[in-house]
Amino acid sequence: MNVRWAGFALAWLVVQSPLRSARIPEPVPGGELRFCLHAEPKTFNTLMVSEEPDEVVRFLTGGVLIRMNRETQALEPELAESWRILDGGRKIEFKLREGVRFSDGSALTAADVLFSLRSVLDPALHSPAGEPFRTGQGKPLVSQPGSRRILVSLAAPMPGVERLFDEVPITSARAVEKSAHPADMPGLGPFHVVEYRPGSSLLLARNPFYWKRDEAGRSLPYLDSVRLSIQQNRDLELARFLHGEIHLINGLDAESFERVAAKSPGEARDTGRSLESEELWFNQVARAPIPEYRKQWFRSREFRRAVAQAINRADLARLVYRGHAAPAIGPVSPANLAWFNANLRVPTFDPDAALARLKAAGFSLAGSALHDREGHGVEFSVITNSGNKSRERLATMIQQDLARIGIRLNVVTLDFGSLIERITRTFDYESCLLGMVNVDLDPSAEMNVWLSSASSHAWNPAQTSPETSWEADIDRLMRAQAVETSFKRRKALFDRVQEIVVEEAPVVVLVDKNALSAVSRSLGDVTPAVLHPQTFWNIDRIYLRGGAGR
């Protein structure tokens, strides 16, 4: 199926490209693109990249064997001309592209690729890109069965492993040696670093030896250079955009988005639901230092579902995010094209049904206050991190929604450190409102969230054995999908996980936030995606209208 997938991606490119070139004017080469990094890069060694600014630089200057198209979420061949999955998902073989050269003109050799893969996969080197491969089931081996063939042999089958190569940098021993002097470092990406002024900026120039060409046979990228300013303050970044000093902003919040939209409507880009959501969950940890009767509520499926039903998600999206969010459907956003369970529907907002559900479960209304079977007034606290206006507003709206079914919710904002301490160590909280981001689309990347034994199993982490039958079901389904090689069967398994999470509502997923960005109208062929790096994922095709202008 994987080969088929790659084929599909190729076919898509072939079909799309003529359309695209027909739609837009001829790209004019030249010019400088400017945008901001939000922190100082920590390393230029592509093997050791772990933080966002380093990743941006690697994306612009580095090469990979397989690239995920951020728009279609399909995998596309890059430095590998093609790849095959062999031996029931135990091996992956790459066929290397001919004639690829580094930015210093030297050729990319199979030895370079061997070096890169071995370095990433070597546990002793602790390369963050190798993290997902370290399953504890033995070390993957890398070999060269033919002159332009590279074979990675895994200790155990890893369905969907090819997607991980989007993050595995291809470099050379020479380049790694020079990573302390980024301007001298040869790379395989569309650009290479020519000047680094720590604390201030980074100038990238066009890689004259970049292997890709456009449909007309002209060499890519179109842009001459990219200037990255190091700017931590997002307000200043916005001001610079509004003054036309920079061309792009990724990850805008709704308020900044509205500012851009108010000034120049065409430059504010809402790409729709992203992979970021806001969630509310109840503490179900047995040893949590909270009253037993409250734990009983939080362990009650009917209670959790009633809360989920009583929250007006549409209002949350409309008021808190000014419409730049959508009521969440389930734990996986529809923005995850391949894995979202399309049979799920947005849960209905129905306080009356919620109340009926609670009454059926033994709760009763006395006046306007809800009481449990033992007569305890239903009142609990929700914690969220302070300084995040959106979350505070979500909590305040939920407070009013729950008041309608007689539940008293107390909102407590905590600094992030204390919050994490409470939800991961002391478990001294009742419910928590936080955001979740899915960076990796594959369900195997979410094992650490859904397995009952996992440390990030938010509502009741690190269980020695599943404490509920539905958690046992999720464990079983997640483990099964992790070794299943057929995409269709994996999808069916993971669909079921999503259904269980909606049915049991251990987490109430509130809204999926939209991916918002700002894109200068002087840029051509920018198609913001929900996946990182959002606006410039197709950097080699972006051009400045009128070339060097602006």
């Binding site: 009142e379 302070s386 505070e392 600094d415």
Partner: protein, 268 residues
């Protein structure tokens, strides 16, 4: 100075009365979310428009004034009282009492507040009702804000203590209680009053910062602190001058305090 001071007091009293009459002046209440009209402009229904959740800004301002204008003076009174007891004891008795208390004051003034408040937050229960949070905030501000007044009062007590009439009173054989109550405190009264008045605006602003640590006045109860925090985004205010109402009111009240605080007492 005198008529100005009287005018300031009258204005402050008027604001306070309006805050107390919030239930009549703004029947919409501070918590009700009119979700169909968020971010509304001022109108006959919503005198100052609505906030982002559709809550009546005028009602929130009035109720917020009620909270802040009662909370801050109460906290100021508590802080001044604790500060007076500590400062006067230290300044008057001197010796090891002074050494200990002065250390404690220095500690309190130099302690990383964040750390202290985080510990306080960790100890307090999470399930605090919004109205209880007002009480807790008041207690915290009062109990944690004593060191400033204490230091001033310590210096003042120290100074008054060696005044001739204090020595004379002791030479007359008066008991410590009498020396304190008859001679020391009346002469510290202006300093006490100044400390009290000065603490009020300080506490109005600190309350907002406590909110960042989960200790301030909790949603949905409004306070000037959380209303002002909403103004942090300058852009939200541009073109909507009515949103500045909390800031204007705060400035007016601060100005009133400034005129009420008898500045000449500091030169003493």
């Amino acid at each position: 100075m005198k008529p100005l001071r009287r005018a300031a007091m009258a204005l402050l009293a008027a604001i306070y009365l309006a805050a107390l009459a919030a239930a009549w002046l703004a029947p919409a209440g501070y918590a009700r979310q009119f979700r169909e009209s968020p971010d509304a402009k001022p109108s006959a229904v919503f005198l100052l428009g609505t906030d982002e959740l559709g809550r009546d800004s005028f009602a929130r301002l009035l109720y917020g004034s009620r909270v802040s204008l009662s909370l801050a003076p109460a906290a100021a009174a508590l802080a001044t009282l604790v500060g007076a007891v500590a400062g006067v004891s230290a300044g008057y008795w001197g010796g090891w009492i002074d050494t200990c208390l002065a250390r404690l004051m220095d500690l309190f003034l130099s302690v990383p507040w964040l750390f202290l408040l985080l510990s306080v937050r960790a100890v307090l229960p999470l399930n605090v009702r919004p109205l209880e949070s007002i009480g807790i905030t008041f207690l915290l501000l009062g109990l944690l804000g004593w060191a400033g007044p204490a230091r001033v009062l310590r210096a003042a007590a120290h100074e008054v203590k060696s005044e001739d009439f204090m020595v004379q009173a002791r030479a007359r054989g008066s008991s410590p209680v009498r020396v304190l109550s008859l001679h020391l405190l009346p002469n510290l009264a202006p300093v006490l009053a100044a400390q009290f008045w000065m603490s009020i605006p300080l506490f109005i602003l600190s309350e907002a910062n406590l909110g960042f640590l989960g200790l301030g006045v909790a949603e949905p109860v409004p306070s000037w602190g959380n209303l002002l925090a909403g103004l942090q985004n300058l852009d939200a205010v541009a073109g909507c001058p009515w949103r500045l109402a909390p800031l204007v009111l705060l400035l007016v009240v601060m100005a009133c305090f400034h005129f009420i605080v008898p500045m000449e007492d500091f030169s003493k």
